[in-house]
Symmetry: C2
Subunit: 381 residues, 2 copies
Amino acid sequence: MSQPDPLDPTWMRRALALARGVLYITSPNPRVGCVIVRDGQVLGEGATQPPGGPHAEIVALRDAAARGHSVAGATFYVTLEPCSHFGRTPPCADALVAAQPARVVIAMGDPNPKVNGRGIERLSKAGIAVHVGLCQEEALELNPGFASRMHRGTPWTWLKLAASLDGRSALHNGMSQWITGPEARADGHHWRARSCVVLTGMGTVLADDPQLNVREVATPRQPRKAVVDARFALPENARLIDGAEVLVFTVRSDPAKAERLARRNVHTILMPAQQPHRVDLPGMMRWLGEHDVNEVHVEAGAGLSGALLSAHCVDELLVYLAPTLLGDAAGMVRMPMIDHLDAARRFEFIDFTRVGSDARLRARVAASWQSLVQGLAGETR
Amino acid sequence: MSQPDPLDPTWMRRALALARGVLYITSPNPRVGCVIVRDGQVLGEGATQPPGGPHAEIVALRDAAARGHSVAGATFYVTLEPCSHFGRTPPCADALVAAQPARVVIAMGDPNPKVNGRGIERLSKAGIAVHVGLCQEEALELNPGFASRMHRGTPWTWLKLAASLDGRSALHNGMSQWITGPEARADGHHWRARSCVVLTGMGTVLADDPQLNVREVATPRQPRKAVVDARFALPENARLIDGAEVLVFTVRSDPAKAERLARRNVHTILMPAQQPHRVDLPGMMRWLGEHDVNEVHVEAGAGLSGALLSAHCVDELLVYLAPTLLGDAAGMVRMPMIDHLDAARRFEFIDFTRVGSDARLRARVAASWQSLVQGLAGETR
C-alpha cells in the first residue's frame, strides 16, 4: 500500500478547510478538522461539533464507517493533537489507537497542559507513526485563542479599528458611522462571529447604542457581549441588553442594579479598583481566560482602544481603512503622549486585503504569537 | 507563416518590461518598449532612449538588423502608438511602414494630440493590420504623466505620505524621521527617480533641510526640484540648492534674491497672488505642464499636502504605514474641517504591498484616471 508523503500539505489543507467551516460554533473548544486517507482516496472526514458533540476525529471515523470503509492502515490528517483526557467526551487518542491507522499527521500540538504531547505519546506507544508540525502556522491561525488561554491563561484579543487613510475615525462633529463601506462592516461581523466575546466601552454604548451582536453573517451561535463600565452607568434600556449574555466589568458596587440586570442575563463583575473609575484591564483579561473565553473581539472608541493598547491587552489589530483623507477629525486611539518612537507599540503586518472599496490590514504583536508557537508540543517525532 | 494570437499578452508584457527598464531616463518623453516577433522568435527589441535618442521602435529595428534578421511579415508589439510627427526624431510610423510588418499590436493610443490616432492611421493605410488596446491599463500605468500633460495640460501628481497605522506622521515633539523603515524610504526614492519634479513646501525645507534628490536607487538622471515658497523665504544655504535645477514658486518679488539664486540654477517663478501669501496651486500645476513636467512627486508636510488635496491637485496617494500606533501625535494632512463625509476626498485603492516591515498603499482619484483612459485613441480598429 503506497503511503502519501506526509509532508505533502494537500490533505492537511483539506482538514484545515474543514476546521474553518466550524469557526463560529465550537468554542470554547478548538476548531479541528480531520481527513482519513488511503491510496489517495478520502475514506472519511469531519470537523469538531459544538460543545458536547463529537470531536473531529470521531466525526471522521463515523463518516468512514458510514461509507463502509475500514480505516486500518490509513493516514489520519488532523489539525490539532488528538486529546488524551476525558472532558465532555472520551479521549480521541484512544479511538485513534483502536482504529489502527498506519500514520497520524498532526498540524499542531495541543497547547492544553492536560494534553500537551500526551496524545502524541499515546499514539506512538501504540506503534502508530506520528508526524507533527505540517501547516502549523495555519493551524494556529484557526485557534490562537484556545492556545493563548491554555498557554497564558488569557484570551487572544484583537482590536478592530475603522478609519480613513489618515487615521481619522470620526469627523469633528462626531459623524462616524459610514467611513468604511458595507463590505468592511460585514467582514467585521465575521470576526465578531468567530470570537467568544465582543467587548466595548461605555463611551460607545452611550454614543452609538450598539446591539453588539452578529447580524451580517449567518451563525447559529452568538458570542457573549462585554462592556467595560467602571462607573456602572450602563443604561438599562441599552440595545445590547437583548436576552443574550452580557458581562459588565465595573469598579462601582450597586447590588440593586446588578440584581435587576441579572434577571435579564446581564452579569456584573465587580473588579478591585486599582485606580478610581478604572477597570483593571489585564485583570479583566485573566477573568475572561478563567471563564472559557478564547478570543476577544474589541470594537470600542479611541479611549478604551488606547487603554487596552497601553495595558498590553491587544494581540492583534484588525484595521479597515477607507480610501479617503479627512484631515482635521478625531483620531483612532487615545494614548499617553510618547517622546520617542521606541516607546510606541510595535506590531507586525500579517495580511493586506481589499474588502469592498476599503483596505483591511492585519497586524499582530510578534512576541505574543511566538509565545503561542513555543507553547505547542514539539515538531516531528 | 503562423501569426501569434494578437490577444496573447506574452510579448506585450515583455515590451512593458522593457519600458519599465527605462522608467528613470526618458522624460519628458514617454517610456515605451517594443518587441518584434515572428514564428515565436524575438527578432529584435528595445526601449526609448533619453531625449534626442531613438524611440523604442527604432531601437528594436536596429536590434533586429544587428542580429541579421529581416522583419518583413513580423508582428511588432509596442506599448504606445508609434509617433507620426517630426519631434526631436523622425516619425516612427514611417520607419514601421518601411519595415513592412504584417501586424502592429499597440497597448495604448498616443494621448498626444499631434499623434492621437494618426500613427495608427498611417499604418492601416499602408496595409498593415493594427490592433490597439492589449494591456492598455498596464501601459498607461507607465505613462500617466505623459498622458495627463497631453490630455489635461497638467502633470500626474502623487502625494507621498508616511505615517503610523493611526495616521500619525510625527510625535508631539516633532520627531518624525524614522516612523517607517529603510525599505520604505528606498521605495520612496524609486518614485522620486521616476518623477520629473520632486515638490515640497517651505515648512519642510525649514524643518528638515532635505536634499530632495534621489540617493537610495541608482539613476543617471535626477528629477528637478520644486519648492512652494509663497513668502520667498528659501534660505540661500538650503541643502537642496546643490547645482541641480530648482524651481521656486512664490508670490513675493525680490529681484536681487532671484538673481543671486538664478546663478546657482534656482529659478524663481513669480505667480499672481490670488490670496496674499498663497501660491495658486492649480496655476503652478499648469505652469509645470507647460514646462514638460509629466509626473510630480510631492513629499511635503501636513500643510502643503492638505492644501494640494483641497485644491484637487493630487491624482494619486502613495502611503507608507508603519505597523505601530502612536495615539496623540501630529496628523498626516491639514485640511479644512468638513461636516459631512460626502465632502471628503475619495480615492480608489489600486495596490497594497509590504515594503520591509511597512505597508504601502496606493490609491488614486478614479475620475482622473478615467479621463486619461478616455483621452486615448480608441481600442482595436
